[in-house]
């Protein structure tokens, strides 16, 4: 942040901001709480890694939406279609490069995954730009219209997917090296889930660096709080809005690729199916907070895994239960963002 490094010739010991650690402690606390109920430590590790991977995939799918909602105050029910579109975009790569998926080379397998991600992000970024211009821009400022119009956009785009790729589910192969699991003693960790954790962490760290260490990030954070003042400082907030919408769509595309390889089946409604979960995590995290979205995603996924193992009948309501408890504790979410 060298361009932002202005420092006053002030006393050396300047006080720093206090980090709110309490919500972060929820994750290890939850893990420790679950351990005696799960019983076996190896099963606990397996469940935890699986939960972390699921949490990362939810984070990838939700992080764009929380930024769009936080900065632009837009309720985009059409976000799910970017997840589906990202997933289907893998076909553009898997078609001509099918051999890379079955090749006995980890390099080719990972390159295939990287290409799928790049193409999906490109496709969804482009779709996001069109979606913002045609569907969202006319309804800035009206939440009800946003819900109706973005829902309409979602339905239209899902039908376009059907028209392009057919209505039947399409199976896709997981690249060879990402199949199977790492086995360490009694601990089993699926390879693909480990890759999902790594990609999720990279994206999270990247977003944190962007938001906290760059001028663009400062503008986004300031714009979430007071867009009018950002304009009065001479910045064109509309361009920032559009860029964030496009970036949010591209992130959904990335989440869609990870989700597609996890399910190994494509359906046009796969994005919409996870939207309830996506909305739950952005509400838990605090609307507009990327850090909150990250913690919320992991929390929801871990609870679903632990509860699904300990008391399967409760698994269905565990997410709602987590959201209710968090909102009773912190009504604005784990990391509330100051709002206009």
């Amino acid at each position: 942040m060298s361009d932002m490094a202005a420092q006053p010739s002030a006393p050396a010991e300047l006080p720093s901001a206090k980090t709110d650690w309490l919500p972060l402690l929820l994750i290890p606390a939850l893990g420790l709480l679950a351990l005696p109920f799960v019983g076996s430590p190896s099963t606990w590790v397996t469940l935890t890694v699986a939960g972390l991977a699921m949490g990362m995939m939810i984070f990838l799918m939700a992080s764009g939406l929380t930024l769009v909602f936080g900065l632009m105050d837009i309720i985009n029910f059409g976000h799910g279609v970017f997840i589906s579109l990202g997933a289907y975009a893998t076909l553009l790569v898997l078609g001509p490069l099918a051999g890379w998926a079955t090749a006995d080379s980890i390099g080719l397998n990972l390159a295939l995954l990287a290409l799928c991600i790049l193409v999906a992000m490109g496709v969804t970024a482009l779709a996001g730009a069109v979606f913002e211009r045609v569907i969202v821009r006319p309804v800035y400022g009206s939440h009800l219209k946003q819900i109706l119009v973005t829902m309409g956009g979602l339905i239209v785009t899902e039908q376009l997917i059907h028209a392009l790729w057919g209505a039947s589910p399409i199976p896709i192969p997981l690249p060879q090296s990402l199949r199977g699991a790492f086995v360490l003693g009694d601990i089993v960790m699926e390879r693909y889930r480990v890759v999902a954790v790594i990609i999720g962490l990279v994206v999270f760290v990247g977003m944190q660096l962007l938001l906290n260490r760059t001028r663009i990030g400062l503008l986004i954070r300031a714009g979430v709080e007071n867009p009018e003042m950002v304009e009065a400082l001479g910045y064109r907030i509309r361009r920032l809005f559009v860029s964030v919408f496009i970036a949010g769509s591209a992130l959904a595309g990335l989440g869609g690729v990870m989700w597609a390889f996890y399910r190994q089946t494509l359906t046009a409604g796969m994005g919409m199916e996870v939207m309830v979960l996506v909305f739950i995590v952005i509400i838990i995290g605090g609307l507009g907070s990327v850090g909150g979205c990250f913690v919320g995603s992991i929390l929801v996924a871990l609870v679903a895994n632990y509860v699904g193992f300990i008391e399967p009948k409760l698994a269905l309501i565990s997410n709602i239960l987590v959201m209710a408890l968090v909102l009773i504790w912190r009504p604005q979410g784990l990391f509330p963002v100051a709002r206009r």
């Binding site: 006053p8 304009e231 400082l233």
Partner: protein, 241 residues
């Protein structure tokens, strides 16, 4: 009077169905501090927001340094060299004091000498440099809002009621800061309810009532004329001392 830096001619502003400004005319001379006074609801804030392009003038003309800025967008007006401090201060509370100031310096890093000068005007900000601006008191937030407006050299500062709700000691330090800004040659249009502060600072005064300009002239004339104070503002300077 020197050449006007800002000139409003017959400016009308509507907000929804309401007609707020009714043909506002006044000028702000370069290098001077012009006070915009008036009772609550007189249209002072609307005037500043209209100049900034936050509300569009429905008719009339606003010229800044010879250029017509009436229909220009807010970012364009800011880039032309006008800084705005709203009544609510517009501080980004999630950002640190430092980040608030860094963001205001559009052209790059804040100049070190200028930063030292700004923190000399508002020394309290040094202590909170790396803390979220939301932690500041009302007076400190006001200091930050003004510090942010002057993070880079600007041609004109529009400041809306900077002493509102501040303790007397804070009002005095704010007056000192404005005196220092004035002496550095800044051109300022300052909305103020506190007539004591206004009389201590203003070179010129413009008084509004019901969306119209009812008086403009030298501040010294208004200070000297208690009847005029009573008639225009419903109070006299004595009431503020």
């Amino acid at each position: 009077m020197t050449e006007p830096l800002l000139q409003l001619s017959g400016v009308h502003t509507h907000i929804g169905p309401y007609h707020i400004l009714h043909g506002v005319d006044f000028t702000v001379p370069a290098g001077e501090l012009t006070m915009l006074l008036g009772r609550n609801g007189a249209g002072k804030t609307t005037t500043l927001r209209t100049i900034m392009g936050l509300w569009q003038a429905s008719s009339g003309n606003i010229r800044f340094d010879g250029s017509d800025i009436t229909t220009r967008s807010t970012p364009d007006i800011a880039r032309a060299g006008i800084a705005y401090v709203p009544e609510a201060m517009g501080i980004f509370t999630d950002l640190t004091v430092r980040e608030n100031i860094v963001l205001a310096a559009r052209s790059g890093p804040v100049d070190k000498n200028r930063l030292d000068w700004i923190l000399g005007l508002f020394p309290a900000l040094k202590r909170f440099w790396n803390l979220p601006a939301g932690n500041l008191s009302g007076g400190q937030k006001q200091m930050l809002a003004i510090a942010r407006a002057i993070a880079e050299p600007r041609r004109l500062l529009l400041i809306d009621e900077p002493t509102k709700g501040l303790a007397p000691v804070m009002v005095r330090s704010m007056i000192e800061a404005f005196r220092a800004l004035k002496s550095s040659g800044e051109t300022i249009l300052l909305v103020e309810q506190n007539f004591y502060a206004a009389s201590a600072l203003g070179d010129n005064v413009v008084v509004m009532d019901d969306g119209r300009i009812v008086h403009s002239g030298a501040m010294s004339d208004l200070v000297a004329d208690k009847d005029m104070q009573q008639r225009l503002l419903g109070l006299s300077l004595d009431a503020h001392q």
